[in-house]
């Protein structure tokens, strides 16, 4: 049984301009210990999918429906508040994009790690503190005790991101959702944090969902890739296969538009046009207005995700 089993997830929420259809029929299955990258541009629905999986969106105003939304056997759609609190942090943890705003400014880092441990176990205060020190040590923080007694504003972004990872891993979750964990960080710090996440994932044997807009991050860290666009899955498959032989026109265009792939000052292959309007998404395949090889069908009916090879699937009329 997969650890994460999401079938036909829809998420929408009202905004100034109208009802935002953030996710429109997303399915995702993750086995224990597997690492999956969800790639997409802003508005593709990748972050919202994670937030919905942990039921972290306020309902109302958000509306979440799915045929299945199961984390480690717990039906997240039917779960009570207490059930949710037991799953979050214990079964599934999350690391967020901006470490600077992820900690409560009036408590020490130590306090916030310790309260996480104590929310899920009956560890005594002193045991929890020892565990917190060990965790900070594990995320390669040099002087764990002094960091433990620091307040968030006293630490750098990179240090805080390490602390957030330590906090997320404090109860040995079976799966970690990392939502753009390095986007707010400097290049060299980003590389260090990616290495750290990869190492810890292997060490703890946990599942990993790496949400990112950066194909480089995906190429560095995960086994399998899910490409999202306009709230839907465009293509998914093993990471090497996706990079070697992208099949969906959007995946291909995305890979081609990465700067710096070849030496020399030169124009890039850009994807003309704009991301779809989430309030009023295009009919049919969300990518068809920008797609170079669109067929007549593409504008009317959205293609279903179909297998296109070993472990691979894509939603494209041109591939069926």
């Amino acid at each position: 049984m997969p650890l994460v089993d999401i079938q036909n997830l829809h998420v929408s929420f009202p905004q100034h301009e109208g009802l935002v259809q953030a996710v429109r029929g997303m399915s995702l299955a993750i086995e224990p210990g597997e690492s999956v990258g969800i790639v997409g541009e802003s508005g593709s629905g990748k972050s919202v999918t994670c937030m919905a999986a942990l039921r972290l969106l306020r309902q109302p105003p958000s509306r979440i429906t799915a045929d299945r939304l199961i984390l480690d056997g717990v039906d997240m759609l039917k779960a009570s508040r207490n059930d949710l609190a037991r799953v979050r942090g214990k079964v599934a943890s999350m690391v967020f994009q901006d470490p600077m705003s992820a900690f409560d400014p009036v408590f020490t880092i130590g306090h916030q790690i310790v309260e996480t441990i104590r929310a899920h176990t009956d560890a005594s205060l002193s045991t929890a503190k020892e565990q917190a020190v060990a965790l900070l040590d594990r995320v390669r923080i040099k002087s764990p005790v002094s960091i433990l007694n620091s307040y968030p504003h006293q630490l750098s972004g990179g240090m805080l991101q390490r602390a957030m990872i330590a906090m997320a891993l404090s109860c040995r979750p079976k799966i970690l959702f990392a939502d753009e964990p390095t986007t707010a960080l400097d290049v060299t710090i980003q590389a260090q944090i990616l290495v750290l996440i990869k190492e810890l994932q292997a060490e703890l044997g946990m599942g990993l969902v790496m949400v990112t807009h950066d194909l480089g991050v995906v190429a560095e860290t995960v086994d399998r890739v899910v490409v999202m666009y306009g709230g839907r899955v465009m293509e998914e498959g093993p990471v090497q296969a996706i990079f070697d032989d992208p099949r969906h026109p959007y995946t291909r265009a995305l890979l081609n538009s990465i700067p710096g792939r070849t030496p020399g000052k030169q124009r890039l292959t850009e994807i003309a046009g704009q991301s779809p309007n989430p309030v009023n998404p295009p009919s049919g395949c969300p990518f068809h207005p920008r797609c170079a090889v669109a067929l007549p069908d593409c504008a009317t009916t959205a293609p279903a995700t179909r297998p296109i090879g070993p472990g691979r699937a894509a939603a494209c009329w041109g591939l069926q």
Partner: protein, 309 residues
Amino acid sequence: MTAPVLELRNLSKTFQLPRKGGWFAGYIDHHAVRDVSLTLPRNTILGLVGESGSGKSTTGLMTMRLMEPTSGRILIDGADISALTPAALKPYRRQMQIVFQDSYSALDPMMTLARIVAEPLHIHGIGTPDDQTEQALAMLDRVGLHRSYGQRYPHELSGGQRQRVAIARALILRPKVLVADEPTSALDVSVKAQIINLLLDLQQEMGLSILFISHDLSVVRSLTDRVAVMFNGRIVETAATETIFSDARHPYTQGLLSAIPVLNPRDRRPRRFLTAEEIERGIPRLPGAGTSPALVQVAPDHLVEAVAG
């Protein structure tokens, strides 16, 4: 030989930060930019690369005289503008423009796009109001926004479109120099490529020279002719862009390069990270270098910070 379109000579900026420990503890000097010298030849793009705190944005602001340098000189077409009064500076303002990362806060939300783009013409009193609007619409069209966008407001646009408007406004005066401070950092991949292409096209067409400030070496590789790498307020290496990628000499440049995520999972590799102290200790030792770190020529057109050793 004609003078480069932009030249920075020994530019420095020191901020005084209050020292900890009370009222009379005084200030400590924070050297945000130290002794930076750069030349931007006509019709080229120079990448100024570094991480947060390296002093690259401060350098950009000083170049525009949006921040006063502590010392050093700024030359536009050979003319020293570092000591000009605001009134004397005004004609030079036409020749240099800046684009920022966050175009949303840089655009007046109460103005239509046509007015935003026409405003520099208005400020410099160029043309009749009708002329100004016409030029603005043509410029919008040039950056890829249909003329009908002229009546819209900034909040109606996506991030990439706003960045196009910011570029249109910067270029409407036909400046010689454009300072672009992380203009693509907040953009999505597909939009980033569009803006990079736009800058490349405009540079060609308008004979523009661009100081492109960025932390993103991949973007820099596709866009620039030359690169200057900044670390701790200093320039530690400058060379032609491909030389930086193929033959980086300074440990900080090497570290930056190795931090770029791979572009194919096959190239995953173990990495070693240097601390700031290790970088300072690892400064190349070259015969002929001075006792304190300074830029030394290691190949034609390739300067690296080095000390005698």
